[in-house]
């Protein structure tokens, strides 16, 4: 940046390097960290119940695991849609370059997928054994495979199941943390882009991931239970909201710390970043991400945690604040991924991004990608019931 003359001088002509006019990482790369974030947060809820014995989370524990699996199953889809040559995607697994952060994705993804699947199979083993006994034909064959062909439900077997679940969740936590922290590092490791290049990036991504995942579980639980006309476990929602509050305070603090550090240190490309946040991103960052989707939820969460509120109002507010936070994380991903690329490496100007409707990375494709996990979740619910009875206390 020694070439910069004066701060204002850099931006006057809005010169963008000719190859910087095009935004190469578009909406699919916004979705990818969003999806892995949802997986991460949902897994945290399950881990709090299965490993840290937070009993009040029992009604959503199994659902969170299935939710995590449904989204994890399509986490590679946005990446495949993004790749110029998707047919070569296995090159990343077959001939990875050890120096690249991105090369680890296939392995980390495969391991986390395996761990989540095995946790679900062990958590559901008793139900699956019972379902196996009552099912016929191909469904029975499926349940036989899913129960590892074992119908042993003795006390010892159940104890062993619990031990295995605790072990798997125990190793699952660092794996999901690595899965998402590493996504943050993919951005944080790009020194050419001053808005990405910060060691805080994996931390910001990780906490916002927990926020989005927990919010998604709260919202999905309330909506599905309401739609089915079933009761909502108030204690469970309260615990979720408290956990969400903790993670959101952390996430928002680090997001603001990043901006504050830039503006206080005034080093290097600060003026470019400042111009970006106050220029092309003024609306999506300050208005939507910070004011509407962060400050308001923070205030609401504070009230929910500190004061006693009517149960019905509390649950309704929980759903609304969760929806806002889901939006917050999506906008944050947008501002990081696409916003970061609006800044030309010429340090003299900004480009523009116009999403297309029918591109393979377009708006319609985004809607389809985000709809698929819900279809998967529906299919999973046929095999692995979210709730075995209305009385959630009996749910294993």
């Amino acid at each position: 940046m020694d070439a910069a003359h004066t701060p204002a001088a850099m931006l006057v002509t809005n010169y963008v390097f000719p190859n910087d006019l095009h935004v190469h990482w578009s909406m699919m790369i916004v979705l990818y960290p969003y999806i892995t974030g949802l997986v991460d947060g949902a897994f945290i809820i399950a881990a709090l119940y299965y490993l840290f014995d937070v009993k009040s989370l029992r009604p959503v524990a199994r659902f969170s695991l299935l939710f995590a699996l449904a989204f994890l199953a399509i986490a590679t889809l946005p990446l495949l849609l993004h790749l110029g040559r998707p047919e070569r995607n296995f090159n990343m697994l077959l001939t990875p370059s050890p120096s690249s952060a991105m090369a680890g994705f296939g392995y980390i993804y495969a391991v986390s997928m395996g761990v989540v699947v095995f946790i679900i199979l062990f958590v559901y083993r008793e139900d699956l054994v019972e379902l196996r006994a009552t099912s016929k034909g191909w469904l029975q064959l499926l349940y036989r495979a899913l129960t590892f062909d074992s119908i042993d439900l003795s006390e010892d077997a159940r104890k062993l199941d619990q031990k295995i679940i605790r072990f798997l969740v125990g190793i699952g936590i660092p794996i999901t943390v690595v899965l998402h922290g590493y996504v943050g590092f993919i951005f944080g490791g790009v020194k050419a882009n001053p808005t990405w290049s910060t060691p805080l990036m994996p931390v910001i991504f990780l906490f916002s991931a927990c926020v989005s995942g927990i919010s998604a579980i709260i919202l999905a639980y309330i909506v599905i239970r309401k739609a089915k006309g079933r009761s909502i476990d108030h204690e469970c929602i309260k615990t979720c909201i408290k956990t969400l509050t903790l993670f959101f305070i952390m996430a928002f603090t680090f997001e603001m710390l990043e901006v504050f550090s830039h503006s206080y240190l005034k080093s290097g490309y600060h003026h470019m970043v400042e111009g970006l946040l106050n220029g092309p991103l003024a609306s999506s960052f300050w208005l939507w991400q910070v004011k509407i989707c962060s400050v308001i939820p923070l205030f609401v969460l504070g009230v929910m945690v500190l004061f006693t509120i009517n149960k019905h109002i509390y649950n309704f507010t929980a759903a609304v604040v969760s929806a806002l936070l889901l939006l917050q994380v999506l906008i944050m991903r947008w501002n990081v991924v696409i916003g970061g690329q609006l800044m030309s490496k010429s340090a003299r100007g900004y480009t523009e991004f116009h999403p297309e409707w029918f591109d393979k990375e377009g708006i319609v494709a985004v809607i389809i990608v985000m709809a698929i996990p819900f279809i998967i979740l529906f299919v999973l619910s046929r095999i692995f019931p979210f709730w075995t009875a209305d009385n959630e206390i009996n749910v294993k």
């Binding site: 940046m1 020694d2 070439a3 910069a4 003359h5 004066t6 001088a9 006057v12 002509t13 010169y15 390097f17 000719p18 190859n19 910087d20 006019l21 095009h22 190469h24 990482w25 993004h82 790749l83 110029g84 040559r85 998707p86 070569r88 995607n89 090159n91 990343m92 001939t95 990875p96 370059s97 120096s99 690249s100 952060a101 991105m102 090369a103 994705f105 993919i186 490791g189 790009v190 020194k191 050419a192 882009n193 290097g268 690329q341 030309s344 490496k345 010429s346 340090a347 003299r348």
Partner: protein, 266 residues
């Protein structure tokens, strides 16, 4: 005594014949010793043509002399033709810097300078102090971020120091494009793989200069071997003149040097 008096037509014909014969003979006489008699390529980089190319014992450098560039755009045209570069993407481009008396810098590069800078800018209100052109291309970093981030090893540094892209291996993830501090890369809209300037590696291996260097009418682009002590780049780089690299703070250690680059150049 009969005086022969040839017709004027005959006279003219023989004259034209003689002139033509003389011209052809003279041209051949001049052109033949210069390699015109064969279809072999000339030797533009000494020590490569017809010899075993020692991959492990090569070092090349590229120097852009900003004080010589006239912004004609010939280099960009040559490059586009050499590689059939799709419109809107640039392996190399030329920037125009205009400096006003208020020290304000105005930079532009319409079509990457492909059409040459034939007309002055009309959108600048103040009096112009100075104008100069800055050609840009791959910096051939010794610590190349694009090589580091490529997940499949499609972008690599050859043993002779060239940062190259294996288009049969590239998955088109564009991580290298994000990582390049100089924005020298793009995703080819036709092949869907990453592409960038190679300093015309295929030409260099035949002892030829990069296309842009060959066509530069003013010698603003210089290329040569640092193993050849008689090469121009060797003499400039080992000499007392001031040379700079772009974005030194990135720690990429480019093999592309700039002579006469102002501090405004990024």
């Amino acid at each position: 005594m009969k005086i022969l008096n040839p017709s004027p037509e005959m006279d003219r014909r023989s004259f034209v014949k003689k002139v033509l014969n003389g011209t052809i003979a003279g041209s051949l006489f001049l052109a033949w010793p210069m390699g015109g008699g064969s279809f072999e390529t000339p030797e533009e980089i000494p020590g490569i043509k017809g010899k075993d190319y020692d991959l492990l014992n090569q070092e090349f450098a590229f120097i852009v002399d900003i004080t010589r560039c006239i912004g004609c755009g010939s280099c960009c045209v040559a490059d586009k033709r050499e590689y059939n570069v799709p419109d809107g993407n640039y392996r190399t481009w030329v920037e125009r810097y205009v400096k006003g008396f208020s020290d304000q810098i105005y930079v532009d590069s319409p079509h990457g300078g492909l059409d040459g800078y034939q007309h002055p800018r009309t959108d600048i209100d103040e009096e112009i102090r100075d104008t100069f052109f800055v050609p840009k291309l791959c910096n051939m970093c010794k610590e190349a971020p694009c090589v580091q981030v490529c997940p499949v090893g499609a972008t690599f540094i050859s043993p002779d120091g060239f940062v190259l892209v294996d288009e049969k291996r590239c998955v088109g993830c564009a991580y290298c494009i994000q990582a390049c501090p100089y924005s020298a890369r793009f995703l080819n809209p036709i092949t869907k793989v990453a592409e960038k300037c190679t300093w015309c590696y295929h030409r260099v291996r035949k002892g030829l200069l990069p296309a842009c260097v060959e066509v530069c009418p003013t010698g603003a682009r210089k290329f040569g071997s640092m193993k050849d002590e008689t090469s121009e780049v060797y003499k400039i780089l080992k000499g007392p003149g001031v040379l700079t690299v772009l974005k030194k703070e990135m720690g990429t250690f480019p093999a592309l040097y700039y002579k006469g680059a102002r501090r405004e150049v990024i």
